[in-house]
């Protein structure tokens, strides 16, 4: 297995270079030269360790996103496929794979009346739509059996208006920028108790549907917790109480490598150590961040799947709305800032961070940026730059951990 992992690392680097803009130069094929904080140790070996690359991803143009390789198998068989370029997302839960990247035929999950179950999962940047299917999931040497996953496809079933009204589809490589998403967030299921019944108030969204045929109109259904798309980590036989994202400090680089470590305090290589625990609201998965004198208790969170620091500022210059960095910050000089996070458990700590000019950063051939920021009106979204230079623990609700009651983040 170790040999296979090493092989994968080599291959993925080569692939990243093959697809990356600006590859072929002398610097772009080298690994990160950034320095790691003396207090940070990045684990690179172990049965519970999978490599993460921040390298632009399979579309070759994705800034500040971490990608891993995931193997899916027809349940109970050795008929498997390894899919690389899967976005590591602590802001959601569940595995989603592009239909166009999947060569296996996986068993379809059906509702009680026999009709296929299909999901619409809204993300801020667009929705994912496609059937719920079942796979054995393997990452590093960890395995989970018969995991409900989502296979993303605009064409297998006709998405209802309630789904397409959510914005743009993220069901293609071009739109998603990844071959899939592995949601390793705070929860064991993607939706939770909200989805166990059909919500009938007209404004309420329903993520799960049954679709009698590829063209028939789909009907909202309630979906039991066990049938919902699952965080595969929670279904591992060991190391199943959470993950650690370990990425080195970086200013700007074409690519950096780090690790996705499974389990918290379950092995010699994943101890919580002196990391401070910040518990999250068990319903929403938020904590509170105070920035520039204002507390944002309703929509603050840590999310490796967001590709910058996103927060409200009336003083930092925004990039032009018609620029190639809409929604990002474009200060003329790098801004050194700080904010304070507070967990539901009362833990509080200040985070220092910097925001540079996004247009300038995007005009390089780099894809790993430590100082990328953007606008968000209602809270503080600690995206991937937050992960550079610190190990971030994500503990799954309902699981036992050495840090106390999950869900929480620790860093």
């Amino acid at each position: 297995m170790r040999g296979a992992l090493k092989f994968f690392l080599t291959v993925s680097t080569g692939l990243a270079c093959a697809f990356s803009v600006g590859c072929g130069g002398s610097s772009s094929s080298s690994s990160s030269t950034s320095t790691t904080s003396p207090t940070q140790t990045i684990v690179t070996s172990g049965a519970n360790v999978a490599p993460i690359s921040v390298n632009g991803g399979p579309s070759g143009n994705y800034p500040d996103a971490g990608f891993a390789s995931v193997t899916v198998c027809v349940p109970g068989t050795t008929t498997c496929q390894t899919i690389d370029g899967v976005l590591v997302d602590t802001g959601s839960s569940g595995l989603r794979i592009l239909s166009s990247a999947l060569t296996l035929s996986l068993p379809q999950q059906n509702a009680s009346d026999g009709n296929p179950v299909v999901e619409c999962l809204p993300f801020v940047s667009g929705y994912t739509w496609g059937p719920v299917q079942t796979a054995d999931v393997e990452i590093a040497s960890e395995k989970a059996s018969s995991v409900p996953i989502q296979v993303l496809s605009d064409t297998d079933f006709a998405a209802p208006a309630a789904c397409t009204d959510q914005g743009a589809s993220s069901d293609t490589l071009e739109n998603l920028g990844a071959n899939g998403i592995i949601g390793v967030g705070l929860f064991a299921q993607d939706c939770g108790s909200y989805c166990e019944v059909v919500q009938t108030a007209a404004g309420d969204f329903n993520p799960y549907y049954e679709c009698p045929s590829s063209t028939a109109s789909c009907q909202a259904i309630g979906e039991s917790l066990a049938q919902q798309v699952q965080n595969p980590v929670a279904l591992f036989s060991t190391d199943n109480n959470g993950v650690i994202i370990e990425l080195p400090a970086v200013s700007e680089e074409p690519a950096v490598s780090g690790s996705l470590v499974f389990g918290i305090g379950t092995q010699s290589n994943n101890a919580l150590g002196t990391a401070a625990v910040y518990t999250a609201d068990p319903t929403s998965g938020n904590f509170s961040t105070t920035y520039s004198g204002t507390a944002y208790p309703d929509e603050s969170f840590i999310d490796s799947g967001s590709n910058a620091y996103f927060f409200p500022s009336t003083t930092i210059t925004q990039c032009g709305s018609t620029s190639d960095a809409p929604g990002f910050y474009c200060p003329s000089t790098t801004q050194n800032l700080s904010a304070t996070n507070q967990g539901a458990n009362g833990a509080s700590g200040t985070v220092n961070f910097s925001v540079a000019n996004a247009e300038t950063l995007f005009n390089t051939s780099d894809f790993a940026f430590g100082d990328l920021g953007g606008t968000f009106s209602g809270g503080f979204d600690w995206g991937l730059p937050f992960f550079f230079g610190r190990n971030v623990f994500v503990a799954i609700q309902g699981q036992s951990t050495p840090g106390g009651t999950a869900p929480y983040w620790a860093y």
Partner: protein, 146 residues
């Protein structure tokens, strides 16, 4: 913001479409099957509709009776077609255009002369706001809409 004026009703359904008039607040409340709380400020009224699943929609109505802004929060996004009304297609086109400018998962920020929409969050928690810039009462800053 002023004091709570009245608790108008409970258990009724409801929301008001952006750009619509005060009557659309009642339509929205019916739609959402929520309870309605109304507060007043100097030059506008806020109608806050609380749904059974924890979703909250706030509709900002000018003294002329027009909905100039909406804000929301809940486990999943609201029915944007209902909430944005005649502005929905403009929002949808802008959202699609923006997602094609640069790959990446990030909050949505639509800033056009006639419409601003900002949405953020993650599965199990979404929030956002939308407003019509040239219909904001002169005393109201965009930051007040939340």
């Amino acid at each position: 913001m002023g004091a709570v004026l009245a608790i108008v009703s409970f258990g009724l359904p409801a929301w008001a479409a952006l750009g619509g008039d005060i009557a659309s607040v009642q339509a929205d409340q019916l739609h959402m099957q929520g309870s309605l709380r109304t507060t007043t400020a100097a030059s506008y009224t806020v109608h806050e509709i609380q749904g059974a699943t924890g979703a909250v929609v706030r509709e900002y109505v000018s003294s002329a009776g027009k909905v100039f802004a909406v804000a929301w929060q809940g486990p999943w996004p609201p029915d944007m077609r209902q909430l944005l009304g005649s502005y929905f297609e403009q929002y949808r086109q802008a959202a699609k255009a923006q997602s094609s400018v640069r790959i990446g998962r990030r909050p949505l920020m639509i800033q056009q002369p006639g419409l601003v929409v900002q949405i953020g969050g993650h599965p199990r928690s979404f929030s956002g706001r939308a407003y019509i810039p040239d219909q904001l009462p002169s005393s109201v800053s965009a930051e007040a809409i939340q």
